[in-house]
């Protein structure tokens, strides 16, 4: 589905992405892990067009999307939620989803078309059902809980019916209970929507539990790639990231 070939990116002297090649199978659920500053978010930024690579290629279903704008990449089918929930503070949850759906339907620039149309409302209610956010649909995005903001951020990405859904630390800043709730939401949405899902995560329990494939970054380089048991046994990953005592888990 998504293929990354020999991609490089440096900021001044910092090599944030060092010759990374990766592929994500259609419908798979993969994670990207690595210490702080390893270049995980940078990789997401490269894939979604927020920054341009110095060299290398990104292919979506065989099509080269390397130099497209963020908007073009979104419309090709790569949706994204952000490390810090990235939402619209003064809109209600429902309005934010309606506005996003309007964009998906290509009617977001209609000057005189009433926004509160039956069609947009029905579609947004369906999406609210999927996200299980009905009870807070009329709250302002800035007033809902941090966890709900993260779900809404995912909902905004989902409203565009992406083929590939990329989540940057979906459980960041959450307590243990909320965290596992988020994990089940992610798994549920992944199955329901049949998307290719890629997520960045620091919590190893979560990573090992739900990932089909784990990719480990360090200083911008891909140091390992494989399923949970392969990664747990990988000498380099243990040294670099998991620590000695990890084998016992």
């Amino acid at each position: 589905m998504l293929n990354i070939k020999n991609i490089n990116k440096s900021f001044g002297g910092v090599v944030a992405t060092n010759n990374v090649s990766l592929s994500f199978e259609e419908g798979s659920l993969s994670s990207i892990i690595g210490p702080n500053g390893a270049g995980k978010t940078t990789l997401f930024n490269l894939i979604t067009g927020k920054i341009k690579p110095d060299s290398g290629e990104i292919l979506l279903a065989g099509e080269n999307i390397t130099n497209l704008s963020p908007r073009e990449i979104v419309l090709k089918g790569i949706g994204r939620a952000f490390q810090i929930a990235n939402i619209f503070p003064t809109l209600t949850v429902k309005e934010a989803l309606m506005a996003s759906l309007a964009s998906r339907l290509g009617i977001s620039e209609k000057l005189f078309k009433p926004f509160y149309s039956k069609d947009l409302q029905n579609k947004s209610e369906e999406l609210l059902d999927t996200l299980e956010m009905n009870d807070i649909s009329d709250d302002l995005c800035s007033n809902i809980s941090h966890g709900d903001q993260k779900v809404l951020d995912i909902g905004l990405a989902l409203s565009l019916e992406p083929k590939v859904l990329m989540l940057d630390e979906p459980t960041a800043g959450m307590g243990p209970e909320e965290r596992w709730q988020m994990v089940s939401t992610i798994e549920r949405l992944w199955k329901l929507k049949n998307v290719t899902l890629i997520f960045i995560e620091h919590d190893m329990d979560i990573v090992f539990k739900i990932s089909q494939k784990i990719n480990v970054l360090r200083y911008g380089s891909l140091i390992a790639s494989g399923n949970s048991s392969e990664i747990k046994k990988n000498k380099e990953v243990i040294d670099a990231y998991l620590g000695e005592d990890f084998e016992s888990i």
Binding site: F88, T90, S103, R104, S108, E109, L111, P114
Partner: protein, 325 residues
Amino acid sequence: MNFIKFHKKDIYISIISLLILISIALFIEHPWPRDFLVSIFSFGLLAMSLNMLIGFAGMVSFGHAAFFALGAYAFGLLLQNENFVMYFGQFSIPIAFVLSVLITGLYSAIIGIICVRLNDIYFAFLTLAFQMFLYSVIVSWVSLTGGDQGLMGGIPRPPFLGIDLSDSIHRYIFCSIIFVLCIFILRILNKSNFGYTLRLIRDNSERAEFIGIRVLRVKLICFVIASMMASVGGIIMALFTSGAYPEWAFWTQSGEAIFMIMLGGVSIFIGPLVGTILLRSINDIVQIYSSHSDLVIGIIIMIVVLGLRKGLVEYFLEKISFKKK
């Protein structure tokens, strides 16, 4: 029709406002209320259209009055041109009206293409710079514009379709209709898909781009529409004074529009209009007693901004909803 059903309330409000405005002309002979209201129509449109940029889209322009002035000068110059009036005869006024709005639209599109790429303070300064550019053109091109004296010699107002704009009642009713229509259009825009796309951009333009919004294009469309609305305000002022003055293109005119918005409040649709009424009233009242009206107005604005930290309309609406609870 769906559209009418959806906007039923706004259509009623518009019709009722228009009837009230017209009845003022029919029942009150003294010209003062009409003159006052025409200035409200004119500056109200300036403030309301500026709030389409500031309140809807989060684009704080310091140079909005340029388009107000351009509308006024274009309208005046077209009608002062004998060939124009000879050619279009009794349709001179409506055609000059439409052309002036379109000329302003075109000019704002050219400026907008450059300005909308910039954010925040850079956008504000660049719009200000373009306004001062227009101001210096007006002041220095004396043969065309009359320089600091303004457009001299009056603007001819040939009657059309039985409407004679040199008659003060006709002119007032004409301006009322145009004004209510423009406010209605702004209202529809505010509640449309486009209006909500502007809110997305105002709240978080980066995220808007990541849900597929063409941010620059939408900002440019907004900039052009707001400028055209401001030009209508300028045309009303030109009709009213039968002239056009360089002060309208000076930066203080944009500043005044920002004061109006601050006084009424950015977040409520009608706020800037209320702000306009307040500012004009305060101005007229203070002028009776003192020649330092700017000082008094400055102090009032400081009290509102520092004391309430929001516009007056926002403040009172909050009070009311608080009491209800």
